[in-house]
Symmetry: C2
Subunit: 217 residues, 2 copies
């Protein structure tokens, strides 16, 4: 199963590396990092440079496409070559997926019209503006389209895809292989659980950066 992970300038790294770590361990997959023109693409922090082996033209019909989010989401969604490629590959994918504000890009390509989808918790309004119906769940499936919530949610989405593709034993083996037995220091990682002053701090931070900072993923 050929899996294309689309990178673009100012993507958020964990959005794609979380799912990548699950999916490249799924037997029979062939993960390809692609970008519009191939070559080096920098993440939102500008500190991480990934050298993509393929341009989008090199991968015209992947079985699965995954779009990460990031502060570059608006620019990527405004890129007609990227949107045309997404529409073309979506016509024949088995799975079309996004993490965090990657759904903004799927929406910009016209793939989410009228569908339930999710994104980073601070970006529901932007997602709705692209025709989707935002829902506050960690992983949302609508037929072959699966969208995940912010940044780290891509790991959960990819494990669910592993389960759908190859069953519980393989998905459990991958989860155990990456020792995904999470123990976050705080149980405050959704806006309804976090202290209000932390939520307000982040909302102001994102608003001040117009379309989100690095952590808006």
């Amino acid at each position: 199963m050929e899996i294309a992970i689309l990178l673009y300038d100012n993507f958020t790294a964990l959005d794609c590396i979380g799912p990548y770590e699950v999916l490249h361990n799924l037997p029979g997959t062939d993960v390809k990092f692609v970008s519009r023109d191939g070559g080096v693409v920098r993440s939102d922090s500008r500190r991480l440079a990934i050298a993509t082996d393929y341009s989008i033209d090199d991968v015209p019909s992947p079985a699965m496409v995954l779009v990460p989010g990031g502060p570059g989401d608006e620019a990527a969604g405004a890129d007609e070559r990227i949107c045309a490629w997404l529409r073309k590959v979506h016509a024949s994918t088995k799975w079309t997926t996004s993490v965090c504000t990657g759904s903004i890009i799927l929406g910009a390509a016209g793939l989410l019209d009228g569908l339930e989808a999710t994104t980073h918790w601070a970006s529901y309004e932007r997602l709705a503006a692209r025709g989707a119906k935002p829902v506050a769940r960690r992983v949302v499936r609508q037929g072959k389209i699966i969208t995940a919530a912010g940044v780290s949610a891509g790991i959960d989405m990819a494990l669910e895809l592993a389960r759908l593709e190859q069953g519980d034993d393989i998905a459990q083996a991958i989860q155990l292989g990456i020792e995904y037995d999470p123990a976050p220091p705080f149980d405050t990682s959704s806006p309804d659980k976090a202290p209000p002053h932390v939520v307000e701090f982040l909302r102001a931070h994102f608003a001040g950066l117009e379309r989100g900072s690095a952590v808006s993923g």
Copy 2:
């Protein structure tokens, strides 16, 4: 705070990108991906290429060093230039850290003698052979040395470091920013919780690959 993340051939990507996503969002940090000679380094799947901006010689005294694990751990630990650099930087770091079998490399450099440390659950014996006392916890701190368990445990370690460095509010804001409210499909991600046949399958898989496959991180 200058943070050096050491990459080497056949590293496991999530080991370092999880902590990176937390740490680059910590105010005042300057994350640098370094490799022995600078330039492109490939992950264990060979499908991901990171272009490091720095060689180890370019970053002689980071405040923090982070070493990911991966099937390339033995080769990296046998590289005298890498070990000499680790010993040198450790002399002046505030934090010396590893994720997964990155602790094998710290041990090979002689930094873990007699200390409690952790690693991927399938690699305790190899860690003990480098002089450490392996313990089965997700994050283990011994003074300024912090080691994390397999692959995804680096996210929890980095959030703990964020808390230690800048307190609960900032650490909570980062955790909420990356929406780290994990919902794995299975509660079977440690050997004592997973079905025995899944654990045995993975142990055999790792043993067959001598020093672990991609998922051994």
